[in-house]
């Protein structure tokens, strides 16, 4: 039957998507410092090594700090942007929205080079702050999109109701709009966090030689000496992504967040 073929097709593609991950997970379990699959002499020693070897601990810390702060930055820029675009029309709104969506839509190498020359001009090339701000701008698109979805899902009558009950503009914002979009702000932050952790080219161009992140470290290891720790990091990143998106799927409406229902009339 056709339903059977559909499931088979979906299953096959998912299998292809998961296969490399399974192999990497298997590699990470090797006892010896080799990339064998199926792994030989199962061991978790490389998982411990990630948190003991300074070689890997520093990039791990860098990556986490950059992801946490740059996502916060992205949300801080995206929130007023989405609010403005939602509540007002006109060229400024359209321009801001384009500007908010553009960074993630362009080939990242272009933005990366733009950031490189910018930080070189400012004399901040190679500093972690440069990576953080660059990631913040690059990832601003994600919270812009999720927060805009949240705002467009608000029943306008809620805001009018608050106004008739005596809420001035600022109070409406604080007591109605913000509480209602908190889930969307959080999922925007989570999206940006996960993607910042995984981002390579911008981090590399802006401060690749001084501020090593995990993706940079993995790439360097790919060239200068394989170790199962690469597999360990990959597995941890995948688990983190599954946990974050799984949480969003569990407590939010993921199909809707991905645009399944008509939430915005165009």
């Amino acid at each position: 039957m056709t339903a059977w073929i559909k499931s088979l097709y979906i299953g096959l593609i998912l299998l292809l998507l998961v296969a490399p991950i399974v192999v990497v997970a298997g590699v990470s379990l090797n006892e010896a410092q080799s990339l064998r699959f199926p792994p030989q002499d199962l061991s978790l020693r490389w998982y411990g090594a990630l948190f003991r070897e300074p070689d890997w601990l520093v990039p791990l810390r860098n990556s986490l700090v950059i992801a946490a702060t740059s996502s916060l930055l992205a949300v801080l820029v995206a929130l007023p942007l989405a609010l403005h675009v939602w509540s007002r029309r006109g060229w400024l709104s359209r321009g801001l929205y384009t500007l908010g969506v553009a960074p993630f839509m362009l080939p990242p190498v272009i933005s990366a080079l733009g950031f490189l020359v910018f930080w070189v001009s400012l004399g901040m090339y190679g500093q972690m702050a440069a990576t953080i701000v660059s990631h913040g701008v690059f990832l601003v698109t994600l919270p812009v999109v999720t927060i805009s979805l949240g705002l467009n899902a608000i029943d306008p009558a809620l805001i009018e109701a608050a106004r008739t009950m005596g809420a001035a503009r600022g109070q409406v914002l604080r007591t109605v709009i913000l509480p209602l979009i908190v889930p969307y702000i959080l999922s925007g932050y989570a999206f940006a966090f996960v993607l910042s952790l995984n981002e390579y080219i911008i981090a590399y161009m802006v401060a690749g030689f001084t501020v090593e992140t995990l993706p940079i470290k993995i790439f360097n290891s790919l060239r200068y000496g394989y170790t199962p720790i690469m597999g360990v990091v990959s597995v941890l990143f995948i688990l983190l992504a599954v946990a974050v998106f799984g949480m969003i799927g569990r407590f939010g409406n993921l199909p809707r967040l991905m645009g399944s229902e008509r939430v915005r009339d165009q």
Binding site: Y9, I13, L17, A19, P20, I21, V23, V24, G26, S34, L35, R36, L76, V77, P80, L81, H84, W86, S87, R88, L92, L96, L99, G100, P103, M105, L106, P107, P108, V109, I110, A112, L113, G114, V117, V120, S121, G136, V137, V140, P156, R169, V194, N198, Y200, I201, P215, I218, F219, L222, M230, G231, S234, I238, A241, F245, G249, L254, P255, S260
Partner: protein, 283 residues
């Protein structure tokens, strides 16, 4: 009813306008000015206006790189969307729970670093771990062999990278498509295959085009995969941009290439928007 007018104070716009103006527009402006600046060998560059970097790009060597980049990306985009379109249609027809879980997998794959994807695939396609071993064990190959580096490995990587994006671009319009349209065609005697090509696909012409362009643009910017999975002749424009910027210290030339890549990208996006509007107007 539309969103309430002026629910937010006007000065709120200043925050994103300033942030993105300084940290997004200005970098592009600087990049533009660097692309016409004069290169100082050994140092960075000095301000000026010359088209030397652009002219250099027109040489046969870099021209062929552009053609290679575009060909590889176009092939990846075509394969990706061909696989993603039926996937999305089937996905949208599933229950909410199943959809949620498949979306979680897709988002997780989407968020994966190019480095990790390159590493995973190079492991999967390597001699010691993965497909080679499996095929040898099954007796299809006499002895295990590596499938990387090769054009095949590079295209696989690009499709792996682009696939979740293609699905997520197609997902909203596909899931909003009235399932009754297809059912109506079915009751009138159209076979599932004819329904698919006669009703579903034409209705989604604009989103399919959009997905093609997005994956194309996205893979055009791929930097690591060509180095990990491909041979030097498969190096794309992105690899050369980074190479010029970081290792050859030729920022003006790197900037000129980036500007050209930007122009190509914007032209394609504009073209898609135009075609999409056409398709929309006809419906």
């Amino acid at each position: 009813m539309s969103a309430p007018q002026k629910a937010t104070p006007g000065w709120l716009a200043a925050i994103p306008a300033l942030a993105l103006g300084i940290f997004f527009i200005v970098p592009f402006a600087i990049m533009l000015s660097v692309s016409v600046a004069h290169r100082v060998p050994g140092g960075f560059f000095e301000p000026g206006f010359e088209l030397a970097s652009y002219i250099r790009f027109l040489s046969a060597f870099f021209g062929s790189i552009l053609v290679t980049s575009i060909t590889i990306s176009a092939a990846a985009a075509a394969i990706c969307v061909t696989l993603a379109f039926p996937f999305t249609v089937f996905l949208a027809g599933m229950g909410r729970r199943a959809q949620t879980w498949i979306l979680v997998i897709l988002l997780s794959v989407l968020s994966l670093s190019e480095v990790i994807i390159g590493f995973s695939l190079s492991t999967l396609l390597s001699k010691t771990a993965g497909v080679g071993n499996l095929l040898a064990w099954l007796g299809i190959l006499e002895t295990s062999r590596a499938f990387t580096p090769s054009l095949f490995a590079l295209l696989t990587g690009m499709c792996y990278l682009g696939f979740p994006y293609a699905v997520l671009v197609l997902y909203p319009p596909v899931s909003r498509l009235d399932p009754e349209l297809g059912e109506a065609a079915r009751t009138m005697g159209a076979s599932p295959l004819r329904t698919f090509f006669g009703v579903t696909l034409p209705l989604l012409r604009a989103p399919v085009l959009g997905a093609l362009v997005l994956v194309f643009v996205f893979t055009l910017g791929v930097y690591l995969l060509p180095q990990v999975l491909g041979r030097p002749q498969h190096w794309t424009l992105s690899v050369h941009i980074t190479d010029q910027a970081i290792f050859q210290s030729n920022l003006p030339f790197a900037a000129a290439m980036a500007v050209l890549l930007l122009v190509v990208t914007l032209m394609l996006v504009g073209l898609t928007l135009l075609l999409g509007r056409d398709a929309g107007a006809r419906q």
